[in-house]
Amino acid sequence: MSHLDSELQQLKAETIKMWTLVNNQLRKGKEALINLDKDLAREVILSERRVNAYELKLDRDCENIFALFNPVAVDLRCVLAVLKINNNLERTGDIVEGIAKFVTNVDHNFDKQVLEITRAVEMYEAAINMMDDVLDAFDKENTAIARKVFLQDELLDDINLKANAAIAGYIRSNPENIESALYLLSIIRKLERVGDQAKNMAEEIIFYIEAKVLKHRSKVEKQKNN
C-alpha cells in the first residue's frame, strides 16, 4: 500500500468515526424527544463539541494531503468529497444540537396526538435511516445505496410540507399546548434539513466514486445510474 493510500484510508476511517458519532447524536436526540429525557438532550448538546473537534481535525488532514501528496483523479475526488462531507456532518451535528436544545426548553411531554398527526417520529426515523444509509454507502463505496437516499428524502419533504396545517389544526383544538406544538414544528423543520445534509453527502459519494456531479439536478435525474 502506498503512503497516500494509507493516508486516504486513515482519512476515511476518521470520517466514519465522526459520522457514527453524529448518527448516534441523532438517535439520542430522538429518544430525548420521545421520552422528554432532558439529561439525554443535555448529553447531546455537550457532545457537539466532539463533532466540532472532528471537523477541525478532518479539515487539517485534508489540507495536509493536498499539500503533501497532490492527489489527482479518484484520490483528489476522495479528499474533496471528505472535505465537503465533513462540513455536512458538522452542520448535521449543529441541527441535532438544536433539536436537543428544544427538548430541554419544553416544559412537559409532547402530546402523543401531535406526534401522530405530524408524523414527527416517522420523519425522525426516516432521517436516521438516511444518515445510516449514506454512511453505509461511503463505507462500502457503493453508489446504489447512496442513490436510495434521494427517494427517502421525498418522505421527509412530504411530512415537512404537511406539518404547518397539522400543527395549526392541533393548536386550534389544543391551545394550551401551543408552545410545545411550535417546538415540534421547529424540530420538523430541522429534520428536513438533516435530510438535505444526507442528500448532499450522497451526492459527494457519487462524485467521489463515479465522478458525476449531481448538484442542482432533479430528483429523477439523481436516481438514475447514468
Binding site: L4, N70, V72, A73, L76, R77, A211
Partner: protein, 250 residues
Amino acid sequence: MYKIESKNVDFFYGPSQALKNINIAIKPNTVTALIGPSGCGKSTYLRLFNRMNDLIDNTRISGQVLIDNEDIYAKGINVDSLRKKVGMVFQKPNPFPKTIFENVAYGLRVNGISDKKFIEERVETSIKQVALWEEVKDKLKKPAFELSGGQQQRLCIARALAIQPSIILMDEPTSALDPISTAKIEALIYELKSKYTIVIVTHNMQQAGRVSDTTAFFYMGELIEHGNTKTIFTNPKIERTQNYITGRFG
C-alpha cells in the same frame, strides 16, 4: 486545422516496435504533455516531429506525421527547413562552449544570416522572451557555462526561439533544475503558448497538470488516453491512466 497530426504511426528500433498505431491531433498554440513510464515511447514520439530519430541507425517509421498539413516524412522534405520550424529543448541544458550572445546567434549564423544589427536585435528579443535579459544583458560576452543550470536552460530555449520556429519540443526540460528554475521555465511555457505550439515530455505529473492543455498517456508504445488535461487529472476515462497518475501503476 491542426498544427501537428500523427496518423497510424508505427515506429521501430530494428526489430523492436517502439510505437504502435499512434493517432494524435494537436491544435496550434496549445501545450501537449506526453506522460508515461520510462520506455513507454513518449520521447521517441516527441523526436518524430523534428525527425531526430533519423539520426539513429536502423530505425523505421510507417504512417504519417503531418505538420501544417504536410507529411514531414514524405520524399523531398528538407529536414533542415523542418528543424527550423520545430525547435527542441533537452533534459539537460546543453549550451555550446561559446559566449551567451553567440549561443543564441548561432542558429542565425548557420542559417546564413550575417547582418550584425539584425542578429543583435534577434538575440536580444529571444533572450527577453525567456525572461533572461535582465540577468545577462551586462555579460553577453561571458561564456554560457558561467550561468546557473536554470539560466542555461532558458538560454537554450532562447537559442531555439531565435530561428523563429512555430513548434517547440521539450524533453523533460526541468528534470535537472531546482524548483525556482522549474517555476520560471513553467511560467515561460505558459507565456510562449500564445506564439508557439509546445509538446513537452515530463515525468512530473504535477508539471503536466500545471502547464499543459492536453495530456497524452503512453504505455508500452501505445497511446492509452489523450484528452483535456483537466479531465485526465480529475476523471481519466481509462483505469490504466488513473493507476499511473495516482502512482498505483505496476
